[in-house]
């Protein structure tokens, strides 16, 4: 009996060797699915290495817009003998293992419950190409061609992508088209096709883009008016500044003089990177740095100074698993607490947590306005999954507007003020007026320091002056709550006594899990946190549910801790739903964990409700 076709709902994984040019072929594969209008989620799973180690590329296809990662591999395309044994084990029963059969497989590689499709990739490339590098590169294109036949991918879409990729290098188009044909023809001549896992054009993505978070953050910084970028290379944030550099060299060069309307400095370390950002913003330019967890650790002292001295700063933290010698190429949401309370002394920092490339762009641009309006650092918490993988996203939005520079006094304003006080709360919102060096010859200057000064920035170690300042900063913190983005709510009115809270890249898997649970008769209300400090809406959501599942990608339930600590919630009310193996969270996992906790805690919860 022929298997029933499974349309636009499967996972394919490519097992490659890093440094062999597979990435661009794999990207083309995912982009072709996107072009057919079918929601697609590609993810790179790569080692901290440049050449020779196994690397995987996993593509989930799902026309219901379930864009999170899914467990289980339906089709494995293997061109890496090193990881082959494990790759075969990872295929779901009934799935397919596609491999280079130029050499026969040893019998320990044979599983009875999966299908094998051999393509003699080495044989074909040896016959077709004499240059070893061409053999390596075209092998990738040939397997994409073979897959196109196997899963009904439109060849014309692939061909068009090749043409776009080699615009300006037209000579390369024909050989790539030929390689696609070689793969596709081999399948057509030797196998029954298509497989039951197959694509069907849907045109669901007319208004969407396929983009990575890091580049979107970089573009947001361009639109937000950043002129100084200081950074130290660290995976997975490096591509933020790489992209900023690319965009700036295109969009930020003075047409007449050829001079740059930006400056990028690769600092000697993350401390220096943050120092430069603070120096630049103190002096009235918009500046940012991008880093990951180890860099955030190193920036702690400066972040504290900026908090106390009230200097704007923008930090894009692309989170990864800890520690410094951890798994730097795996994703996590584990810098929540170190960012929220960055530094020593009483400090709290503003966090913005985007979930998709369009929001990376929006928050990145917004962060400069917020940092200047609130006169404090703003930390954008992205993660490796969001930053370094392509995501289907709404297009980036912008309305041409003036930058909000906050309370900065001009020369004329200074002339009208009798006595200027840098830390004087004249408006009652806890935010005082800044002056930028060079504004006025005799008014408005002051000596910036962390504390030990009064409202007029005059040196004092009077404890009362210190306390007054700290209380004003607390007042400012309340003001900040009215500026930061509100959470996203997924129901008009609450339906359930159970709530689900998530943030960042847990978004799609959480909503998918919510659907599954709903189908099983468990209804949940949902909220996506987008910022810290928590706004009133966050408080309302939590207060109006009896139990809340807090979904996050770290071991210690850091967001849950932050909620408990800031909102003084009974810890029993917030239930941990965690994922911390370095892979993006899946809906199956969330659903399983929630169901399990409902079973385990059922009696206890019932007791609490009645007691």
């Amino acid at each position: 009996m022929l298997p029933h076709p499974i349309i636009n709902d499967f996972v394919i994984r490519f097992a490659n060797v890093n440094g062999t040019g597979s990435a661009s072929a794999n990207n083309m594969f995912a982009k072709a699915i996107f072009r057919m209008g079918i929601p697609v989620t590609p993810k790179n799973i790569f080692p901290s290495n440049i050449q020779g180690l196994p690397t995987w590329y996993e593509v989930r296809v799902n026309e219901k817009f379930y864009l999170g990662r899914r467990e289980g591999i339906d089709i494995m395309l293997s061109v890496n003998p090193q990881s082959m044994l494990q790759d075969i084990k990872d295929v779901k029963p009934g799935g397919y293992f596609i491999y280079d059969n130029s050499k026969p497989l040893h019998k320990e590689y044979i599983r009875e419950d999966i299908h094998y499709i051999g393509i003699p990739l080495t044989e074909i490339t040896t016959k077709e190409y004499s240059d070893p590098r061409q053999r390596m590169l075209f092998k990738n294109i040939i397997y994409v061609g073979a897959l196109s036949a196997l899963i009904d991918m439109e060849m014309s879409v692939l061909q068009a992508l090749v043409e776009e990729q080699f615009k300006g290098k037209e000579k390369l188009i024909a050989p790539n088209h030929h390689a696609l044909d070689l793969g596709s023809q081999f399948i057509k001549n030797n196998y029954k096709y298509p497989l039951e896992f197959r694509l069907e054009r849907r045109n669901l993505l007319q208004n969407k883009i396929l983009f990575e978070g890091n580049a979107a953050c970089a573009l947001g910084a361009i639109y937000g008016g950043a002129t100084v970028a200081a950074w130290y290379p660290i995976t997975p944030s490096t591509s933020v500044v790489d992209a900023f550099s690319d965009y700036a060299s295109e969009l930020r060069v003075d047409e007449k003089t050829g001079a740059n309307n930006y400056a990028i400095v690769q600092a000697e370390d993350e401390l220096a990177a943050m120092g430069m950002v603070i120096g630049a913003m103190w002096n009235g330019a918009r500046a940012f740095t991008a880093t990951s967890g180890p860099g955030v650790s190193l920036m702690q002292e400066f972040l504290g100074l900026a908090y106390f001295a009230e200097i704007p700063a923008v930090l894009i933290d692309v989170q990864r698993t800890g520690p410094s010698t951890g798994m730097p190429t795996r994703t996590q949401q584990s810098d929540i607490l170190i960012s929220a309370y960055a530094s020593h002394g009483d400090t709290k920092q503003v966090l913005l947590i985007p979930n998709a490339p369009d929001e990376c762009f929006e928050f990145s641009a917004l962060s400069f306005d917020l940092a200047e309006q609130l006169q404090t650092p703003v930390i954008i918490l992205s993660d490796l999954d969001l930053g370094m993988n392509d995501h289907v996203s709404n297009p980036m939005k912008w309305n041409d507007r003036k930058y909000k520079r906050g309370k900065v006094l001009t020369k004329d304003q200074l002339d009208k003020i009798q006595r200027y006080g840098r830390y004087l709360d004249t408006d009652g919102d806890g935010i005082a007026y800044r002056t930028i060096p060079g504004t006025h010859p005799t008014k408005g200057s002051f000596f910036t320091r962390g504390s030990s000064r009064d409202e007029y920035a005059i040196y004092t170690e009077d404890g009362n002056a210190y306390k007054r300042n700290m209380d004003r900063l607390s007042k400012k913190w309340e003001t900040i709550k009215t500026y930061v983005p509100k959470p996203e709510l997924f129901q008009k009115e609450n339906q359930s006594k159970f709530g689900m809270v998530f943030f960042g890249t847990s978004h799609y898997s959480a909503l998918e899990a919510k659907d599954y649970l709903n189908a099983d008769g468990i209804s949940l209300d949902a909220m996506r946190i987008r910022s810290f400090p928590f706004t009133k809406e966050v408080v309302d959501f939590i207060e109006s549910h009896e139990f809340i599942f807090v979904v996050e990608q770290n071991r210690d339930a850091q967001m849950r801790t932050l909620l408990i600590n800031e909102l003084e919630i009974n810890p029993k009310k917030l239930i941990r739903i965690l994922n911390y193996d370095g892979m993006p969270i899946t809906a199956e996992h969330i659903k399983r964990e929630i169901k399990q906790s409902l079973n385990v805690d059922h009696l206890q919860m019932a007791e609490m409700q009645h007691g």
Binding site: L205, K208, I209, L210, L219, I222, Y223, G225, T227, V228, A230, L251, D254, T257, N260, N261, Y262, A263, V265, E268, L271, A272, A273, M274, G275, M276, V277, I278, G279, A280, M281, W282, N283, G284, A285, A287, E301, P395, M396, K397, W398, N399, D400, R401, K402, Y403, T435, I436, P437, G438, H440, P441, T442, S445, F446, F447, T448, R449, G450, I458
Partner: protein, 350 residues
């Protein structure tokens, strides 16, 4: 504070060309120990800026942490200042300078702040050739934490408590020359006549300018046996030259005996005039400068004056090819590519 600096000044004190009095370059009252070398350096800075006709708000002063780094409150009260993080002033100054290339930048640091915790940032500041005057108030000890040896304390120098420093010293001026700094000087807080023109020349230098000023700590390092005490320094100074800084288009007022002078023209048209005391030493030639320093070291002397100058180097803004308009003055019109460009970018991602 229970006391204040009297605000009264003689009404006939001279104005500089911009119409400012010296008072306009002063700061609040120093809280350092009476007799601290740092206060003399502050006074020299005030005098130099007054004489150079610097608009007070066109200079920004940045410092790290320590006694030295407190001093920016004691001079140029009409200039913005930034008391940053221990050893990290160079990065803050770099950011500030990138934001506005039109201001002058004065970095004030100490031997602990620069030669220990801040060594990394110091060397990278030189590597980038930031346009800044960087002054180390060097007393060979940690004053604020009560007198521990610093990394610039000489080997064999005796502390107040009687212990002898067993470690090699770090010579910041020698290091700066080695790293390619274009202006390297050493001076003594007690030698105002040398220090003031050095500060002026450093401020006029269009790149990284370094002055290592030996500045005795009267409280913790002014004892017999210390090589950073007033007495020791006075007795071991070996000035490279008597030296004058002649601002752009000014008459030469200092007179030197014929045949012994050397002039170095600076980019802005100012020039330096040396009355040389040493043979075989040319401040524009790195090898001879390094040689002169080594020779003085071997003789147990402290070489002071402008040791090395090279006017031909690109500063960070030139290296990065930034707009001549300061980056902090660019607006949305200059910086934001606009809606239509974004639509184009969105389209390219479909």
């Amino acid at each position: 504070m229970t006391y204040q600096r009297p605000s009264f000044r003689h009404p006939e004190l001279p104005l500089n060309e911009l119409g400012y009095r010296k008072k306009d370059y002063e700061g609040s009252l120093s809280t350092l120990c009476a007799g601290c070398g740092h206060d003399s350096i502050s006074a020299a800075l005030i005098q130099a800026c007054f004489e150079l006709n610097i608009e007070p708000h066109k200079l920004a002063k940045l410092s790290g942490i320590g006694c030295s780094s407190k001093t920016p409150t004691y001079f140029l009260g009409n200039s913005h200042g930034f008391n940053s993080v221990h050893g990290r002033m160079p990065s803050v100054a770099t950011g500030a300078n990138l934001a506005n290339r039109d201001l002058m930048y004065l970095g004030v640091s100490g031997d602990g702040d620069t030669a220990s915790i801040g060594m990394g940032q110091f060397v990278h500041l030189i590597r980038r050739n930031l346009n800044i005057t960087y002054i180390v108030m060097n007393n060979g000890c940690y004053g604020l934490t009560k007198g521990q040896d610093s990394a610039t304390a000489d080997k064999g120098s005796k502390s107040k408590a009687g212990s002898v420093n067993p470690f090699q010293n770090i010579d910041l001026a020698g290091l700066a020359i080695e790293l390619g700094a274009g202006f390297v000087a050493r001076s003594f807080s007690g030698d105002k006549l040398q220090l003031i023109p050095l500060i002026k020349a450093a401020l006029a230098h269009p790149g990284f300018a370094f002055i290592d000023v030996i500045s005795p700590c009267v409280t913790f390092n002014n004892n017999v046996g210390s090589t950073k005490s007033y007495d020791y320094v006075r007795h071991h100074i070996d000035a490279t030259a008597t030296f004058d800084f002649v601002p752009l288009a000014k008459e030469i007022t200092t007179h030197y005996s014929a045949g012994s002078t050397q002039e170095v023209k600076m980019h802005d048209g100012s020039y330096l005039k040396f009355n040389k005391l040493q043979k075989d030493w040319d401040p524009t030639k790195k090898e001879t400068a390094v040689h002169a320093m080594h020779k003085a070291n071997e003789a147990g002397e402290i070489l002071t004056g402008l040791i090395y100058i090279n006017e031909d180097s690109k500063d960070l803004h030139q290296i990065l090819n930034t707009n001549s308009r300061p980056l902090n003055q660019l607006t949305e019109t200059d910086l934001c590519p606009g809606i239509h460009k974004l639509e184009e970018i969105n389209k390219s991602l479909c």
